[in-house]
Symmetry: C2
Subunit: 319 residues, 2 copies
């Protein structure tokens, strides 16, 4: 059986299209990235979480779309801030439409996300969803700001790194399941368990990304191996290495880190130096995934199955 349910994905895409119908360049620019694909993991999580308790997918759909719209607005704005040229295999929005229109396209998706929240039928549920989604938008901004400031610093601690990714990428994943829990009328203990589940798959997801950059298949991940090293990113793996390597290896790693024109041989050398830290990261992913599934145990075995599968997918994925 497929990990992602095609019927649900079809429904998500159909409704996303409906929210972004409109004329003019601004609507075209807003659809550019959304229609280029993406795994839709966030709205999918919202729907699966909802289905732990309830089956009326139409009820949860606007809430699920809201998180996907927010996710896509952040991608468009992040690409402008980071000057990234490509995403999902196509040129980024600001490359095609220019920066002013890209800022505006992101702002429109932002607005449409809250239109989607307002389309939730039950006012009490809409109010609760609004609370968690708006707070999570604050976190995402603060996380992105931390990420931008970390680039200028050498001394990022593991705790700072984990705080940054828990805000920048974790917050919206946690919100995705929390919104599903609200819509599905979960108890406060169930909601808390789902938050813990999502926190861990969020961390595991990001760390797995960092691992794949070093040991993945470049055709599957869609970018050259070691891009993060050439960009000088302080990933969890690099932070761990800088704290544990002997002086000579640490010095050599710092030589290569951030060297945009590094030879493939140098990248290989850096990966060799990082070997133990990559193992450490793999262990962390395993630990987070195991723990995440523990938190699901309070739910019905059949209904929780797909959420467990998502956790396993995150660890096993190669792209």
């Amino acid at each position: 059986m497929e990990l992602f349910d095609k019927n649900i994905l079809f429904l998500i895409d159909k409704e996303l299209n409906r929210y972004l119908e409109g004329e003019g360049t601004i609507y075209k620019a807003s659809r550019h990235l959304l229609l280029a694909g993406g795994k839709r993991i966030r709205p999918y999580l919202t729907i699966l979480t909802y289905m732990l308790k309830r089956d009326d997918i139409e009820e949860v759909l606007p809430a699920a779309l809201a998180v996907e719209l927010i996710h896509n607005y952040t991608l468009i704005h992040d690409d402008i801030m980071d000057n990234d040229d490509r995403r999902r295999g196509i040129p980024t929005v600001h490359i095609v439409y220019g920066k002013p229109m890209a800022i505006l396209a992101g702002d429109l998706l932002y607005a449409k996300a809250f239109v989607a929240v307002s389309d939730i039928r039950d006012p009490e549920k809409a109010h609760e969803v609004l609370k968690v989604l708006s707070k999570s938008c604050v976190d995402v901004c603060v996380g992105q700001a931390m990420d931008m400031e970390f680039e200028k610093r050498e001394d990022i601690t593991m705790e700072e790194y984990l705080e940054m990714i828990s805000k920048k990428t974790g917050a919206l994943l946690v919100t995705s399941v929390e919104i599903g829990a609200i819509m599905g009328e979960c108890s406060s203990e169930e909601r808390e368990a789902l938050r813990e589940y999502a926190k861990r798959i969020g961390l595991a997801f990001q760390i797995q990304d960092d691992i794949l950059d070093l040991v993945g298949n470049k055709n599957k991940i869609g970018k050259p191996i070691g891009s993060d090293i050439r960009e000088g990113k302080k990933t969890l793996i690099v932070i761990h290495a800088l704290q544990h390597l002997p002086e000579d290896k640490k010095k050599r790693l710092l030589d290569i880190l951030g060297k945009r024109d590094a030879e493939d041989e140098e990248i290989k050398e850096a990966i060799e130096i990082l070997k133990d830290s990559i193992e450490f990261a793999k262990e962390m992913v395993k630990k987070y995934i195991t723990e995440s599934k523990e938190y699901l145990k309070i739910f019905d075995k059949k209904r929780r199955k797909k959420l467990e599968d998502i956790a396993d997918f995150i660890m096993e994925r190669v792209y």
Copy 2:
């Protein structure tokens, strides 16, 4: 008596400060423009409208702040898109903090606006406010996109111009009073009357801005006379002139329009050519303001007084 009630303005600023407490550059950047001033006309309208029917200011405050936060996010992003260096007498956010941080500061204000909506106590009111505010955010984006596209076109009609400003600047003003009406539990007729009032003061406000650029006091409006002419803006006055001037004067106007290094003598000449159109614009402002006050007549005479004063202020203001 003062047009703006100092106690209400104090309350607005106190609460805005509270919403934007936080550490790091992103919070500093978010506060930069907000703390530099601004007339707070939108939250003030929300509160005055609410007070047509109810007196519990604390209840309406989060809703009022939401519109001011949205307004300020749009100013920050617009200044980036339009490459404007100064606003409210100080350098714009992207000049001080760089474009990436300015995009993010705007995004944070956007998020905080919806946090404010979620702080509305009554879920039904919060839900209604969310509906109108999120739709109005869509309009503001579409209006800004129209404005950007109009710059490249020569043949803007009066109707297109009015549609653009009704979205770009009118939508949020209409929303400000509509939110006050929701919070104050106005009937649907009262709400409709308030929408009509706000539409007209929004149009009058924008047209008065365009008039002041040509015949205002440069010290009071804070920029040189005729800036719009040097920038080649297609204001209502210019559109009217291009439709009514004899060929030779029209040609001369088009020569000067958009000439960044135009001499003061040329600006004077353009203003002389625009004389009849300026009169036409002044008549429109007068008409909109008179009509706007007509719509208030269904409300208690004493309670509507300040809303009438705001309408008069918009016509009489010289800055």
